[in-house]
């Protein structure tokens, strides 16, 4: 495997303003040697899909704490696919009730990191699963 730096887009979807966790994860990924593009708050699905394409990232990561993760991901999935990004790694963290995890997996988010997930677990998962 080539040692290209893993490039991550970390987005705050929708209107949710809780960014403490997202910023903590940005720092953890940077400390782990990854290149991270943090979007800031209030990203639309269209904006996330466009940035993921333009920046040629390996990982599309979302941080959602205000409950709108399923409707957001439902809109994001076809947009990422239209940009031919279905082979990239899609992960999501935040306040994600267990009852929603299957729905998120069906929407292509293989890595799910609910409240309580460890930073090293996120880093390791990304390292292991980036193609």
């Amino acid at each position: 495997m080539t040692q290209r730096r893993i490039k991550v887009l970390l987005a705050k979807p929708g209107l949710d303003g809780h960014d403490q966790g997202a910023k903590v994860v940005v720092r953890a990924l940077m400390d782990a040697g990854m290149e991270v593009i943090y979007t800031g708050l209030r990203q639309t699905p269209e904006a996330v899909a466009r940035m993921a394409l333009d920046e040629d990232v390996d990982v599309v990561a979302l941080s959602s704490l205000a409950g709108s993760h399923v409707p957001f991901c439902s809109k994001l999935k076809p947009l990422l696919e239209a940009n031919h990004l279905q082979d990239k790694l899609w992960v999501i963290g935040g306040n994600l009730p267990a009852q929603d995890h299957d729905a998120l997996r069906r929407l292509g988010f293989s890595g799910i990191f609910p409240t309580g997930a460890k930073l090293d677990a996120i880093v390791d998962y990304i390292r292991e699963h980036v193609k």
Binding site: G14, G17, Q20, R27, G40, G67, P114, G116
Partner: protein, 537 residues
């Protein structure tokens, strides 16, 4: 010397960076500055409490944060809380309302009524507060970016129901600078945002002098990663920025400072928190008196809500959060707060159910009825440890405030993202310390259950139907209102905003004409533009 003895001598520092000794005596109090700032409750510098008799005369107000779905759902929850003995309301708004979007805005899809109630027009306030006596129950509006609009709406609703607005009490959060640091419901850029806060303070000073238009929040800065001393120091810097804006307009500090209030967090070390509040009361009084020339005692009071913050609660073993909440309430009572609220044990999972909200309320009531917390003022006053720590915390806060000033002031630091970057670096360090076990959290990095149990948490359901009902209601109001009045009011709003006049009178007129939150926000965005978040690590 055995290992255990060595262990006990290991230096310990609290979160604010103050070394904690194994024993305190009168000499420590003396060395830290003595008792000069202690005084008597109800007297300058108010370290022991802003009132002479404190809870002996009246216990703290209990004000749980509540609101979800449409205004009719929220009205029911309000009535439930009041029926259970809650003495104030704290209204949660959904995110579209908080950032000035109408419910039919495409950006609002999927968010209507989710984390609070949705409000589009004055009609929604009429429904939400129907049957609630606004003289008996004080209402706090947790609104920031769209605060000027929602304050106008609240005053208009009260006036319409026949209340004398001059006598009306209540609070709006309306602290936009902390929204740029944490919580994130900003709309306009920093400078016009501060101007809007100034507009509300100036307007209320004249038209609603008993209404508290701003509650400056250390709370969310703490949640974003600040330590307790920074929490209070940054909040004071922010309050000073608002006060400066209003004084620039020609008001005297005593015309408005008595209605400034605060919102602080309580998770963490008990003694450090109690010292924080005692220190903060003395420091704020000193700032108001010495730097601003306040003469009225009320202008020097650190009036506050001290709330058991979500940042201390855990996802793991959620039922243990009930016990954490009880300690937070105890800290809050020992701190001499005016108002108390607790995050409920299930808040790491969901919006609190009626059941969990009631447990929080009972927790606070228990301190009043069974534990003797209301009988004596400032019961920890005079403790060698607490008095020493109070002096040290005050000095720490003064150092942090001086550092902010030396770096160009809070407005500059927030605009550049410097405070955000600093607290987020601390949050990262704290998260690493929790994960490594250096900072202990029960159930998280010690005393974990061998096998995680099914958590006894009932999820608050999100009702998609609410969105349809809310939008239908909005369309009905749009169809029934007088469009000429709406456009006239919006034109006035635009003219006043661009001329630099106080926008509150125009907002009150627009609200009364049933202009929507989105329409009013858009007029202001045309003049003020939107905030661009600085990304800085």
């Amino acid at each position: 010397m055995n290992d255990r003895a060595k262990d006990e001598l290991k230096p310990i520092a609290n979160e604010s960076g103050i070394e904690v000794k194994p024993l305190y005596t009168a000499a420590d109090v003396e060395a830290s500055g003595g008792m000069a700032m202690v005084g008597q409750p109800g007297e300058y510098p108010f370290t022991r409490g802003i009132h002479r008799l404190m809870y002996r005369k009246q216990p703290w107000t209990m004000r749980q944060y509540a609101g979800f779905g449409n205004p009719a759902d929220t009205n029911k929850r309000f009535k439930y809380l009041i029926a259970n003995g809650q003495t104030g309301l704290n209204v949660a708004f959904d995110l579209p309302t908080q950032i000035g979007l109408d419910s039919d805005d495409p950006l609002a899809a999927g968010e209507i009524g989710r984390v609070g109630m949705s409000v589009d027009t004055l009609r929604d306030f009429e429904v939400a507060f129907d049957g609630i006596d606004l003289n008996k129950i004080t209402v706090s509006l947790t609104i920031n970016g769209a605060a000027a609009i929602l304050i106008a709406m609240y005053l208009a609703m009260a006036e319409k129901r026949g209340y004398d607005v001059k006598q009306l009490r209540g609070t709006a959060q309306n602290d936009i600078l902390k929204e740029f640091i944490g919580r994130g419901t900003w709309i306009f850029p920093v400078e016009p945002s501060i101007r809007l806060v100034g507009d509300t303070i100036e307007y209320c000073a004249e038209h609603a002098p008993k209404y508290s238009p701003v509650s400056v929040c250390g709370y969310h800065i703490r949640e974003s990663g600040a330590n307790p001393a920074q929490e209070m120091a940054y909040a004071f810097c922010i309050a000073k920025a608002y006060a400066d804006d209003v004084i620039k307009r020609g008001l005297h500090v005593d015309e408005f400072a008595g209605r400034l209030s605060y919102n602080f967090n309580i998770f963490g070390n008990l003694f450090e928190q109690v010292a924080k509040f005692r220190a903060g009361r003395g420091l704020w009084a000193k700032i108001m008196k010495e730097q601003y020339g306040a003469e009225k005692p009320g202008s020097m009071w650190l009036r506050m809500i001290a709330a058991g913050g979500g940042g201390g609660l855990t996802f793991e073993q959620p039922e243990v959060n009930i016990v954490r909440g009880a300690y937070y309430a105890l800290i809050s009572a020992l701190s001499g707060t005016q108002t108390m609220a607790l995050c409920s044990y299930d808040e790491a999972y969901t919006i609190p159910t009626e059941y969990s909200a009631r447990i929080s309320l009972r927790t606070m009531q228990l301190l009043i009825e069974e534990m003797g917390l209301t009988e004596t003022v400032d019961p920890l006053g005079g403790s060698f440890y607490v008095e020493t720590l109070t002096n040290q915390m005050r000095q720490k806060m003064e150092e942090i405030m001086a550092e902010v000033d030396a770096q160009g002031g809070i407005v500059k630091l927030v605009s550049e993202g410097a405070i955000q970057s600093k607290v987020s670096a601390q949050a990262y360090k704290m998260q690493r310390d929790i994960e490594s076990g250096r900072f202990r959290k029960v159930g998280v990095n010690c005393y974990r259950n061998e096998q995680e149990e099914e958590h006894p948490v009932e999820f608050h359901p999100y009702n998609e139907e609410d969105t349809r009902v809310q939008i239908a209601g909005l369309n009905k109001v749009r169809a029934e209102r007088d469009p000429a009045k709406v456009s006239q009011a919006l034109a006035r709003l635009s003219a006043d905003a661009s001329a630099g006049r106080n926008v509150m009178p125009a907002l009150v007129e627009a609200v009364k004409a049933y202009a929507t939150v989105g329409e009013m926000t858009n007029e202001l965005v045309k003049i003020f533009d939107r905030y661009q978040e600085p990304i800085r690590f």
